[in-house]
Symmetry: C2
Subunit: 188 residues, 2 copies
């Protein structure tokens, strides 16, 4: 998506070779009209898949996932990072955050992920793929069909996408980065 | 907002006299088209105030705040609950969560809250008012003008709104609850 690549080039801040901050429109401050356009674009790529629900994880995935769900006219469920009080009523998975260097449990109420669902996972970033693997694990537990994942920005060099695609999973990305360093970003 | 009251009556789950779960459309699963209508309604109540930015706190405030910001055609910033790496670049405030019985620090990058802003705070719930007071504190630190707050559901009996209104703050609520118990919700 050219508009996204342009904004990453204009506003993104590369720290070292692995961290990209896009907090002017995606991760801290949100540009709601732009988020809506990105949501529409991701929704269109999965049109015809019969999606019945969008799944994301709090917090920064929520805005774009809501935009995708609005376009697809389906509900969105966001996995929570705090332990739920009644564990029997939720699907749970452990995810490791390389950014925060901690493991957190994400949970989704079973009632919001019935086995006859067709689920589209949406997230803002795909890097090592830990969050995405956790969400896939939860969909697997539910018995629902996974249509694939839609990602705003993928950092290809951190390999999370490659591992999941190798298993046959469809992943659509609006901007995929081959490599980067301060002042320079190479898109795929 | 009658549609919201109807959905709270139909789908809300009251636990004891203080906890209202509305996770079918607001807190865990999100109905994006309904969120958009609620955002439009809150935006209309603050039309003419010259709002330049919407402020909320992660995670469940993000969807409705994005909808309000979309209607007002301004950006939204969500306060983060994790400590930022560079404290000098952020405004910070401590908030106590009665639900989770813990104190967390919320932060907003100074660059997203300039002193000439006119800020509208948006959140999904107003109960004891801890999160709202923390957001007000951050706006005060920034020197920006606070236009007020727009809230989806207010639990009047927990008094957070009364304390802030007594200081002259404008708070608009889409559904205000006087009292409740399982099977019975009295709206103001």
């Amino acid at each position: 998506m050219q508009e996204l690549k342009d904004r990453i080039m204009a506003e993104g801040e590369v720290i070292g070779t692995h961290i990209l901050k896009v907090d002017t429109f995606l991760n801290h401050q949100i540009d709601p009209a732009f988020i809506l356009r990105m949501g529409k674009e991701l929704a269109e790529r999965f049109a015809g898949e019969g999606i019945t629900r969008v799944l994301t994880v709090e917090a920064s995935g929520i805005a774009v996932a809501s935009a995708v769900a609005l376009s697809l006219n389906v509900p969105v469920v966001f996995a929570k990072k705090k332990k739920a009080s009644t564990q029997s009523a939720v699907y749970a998975s452990q995810i490791y955050s390389f950014t925060r260097q901690e493991t957190v449990t994400i949970t989704v109420s079973k009632k919001f992920l019935p086995a006859d669902d067709v689920v589209l996972i949406i997230d803002d970033f795909l890097a090592h793929g830990e969050a995405l693997k956790g969400l896939v694990d939860i969909v697997d537990q539910s018995g629902a069909r996974l249509a694939g994942a839609g990602i705003v920005i993928e950092k290809l060099f951190q390999q999370g996408g490659a591992a999941l695609r190798a298993k046959g999973m469809r992943i659509e990305t609006l901007a995929a980065i081959e490599q980067m360093e301060p002042g320079k970003i190479d898109f795929a």
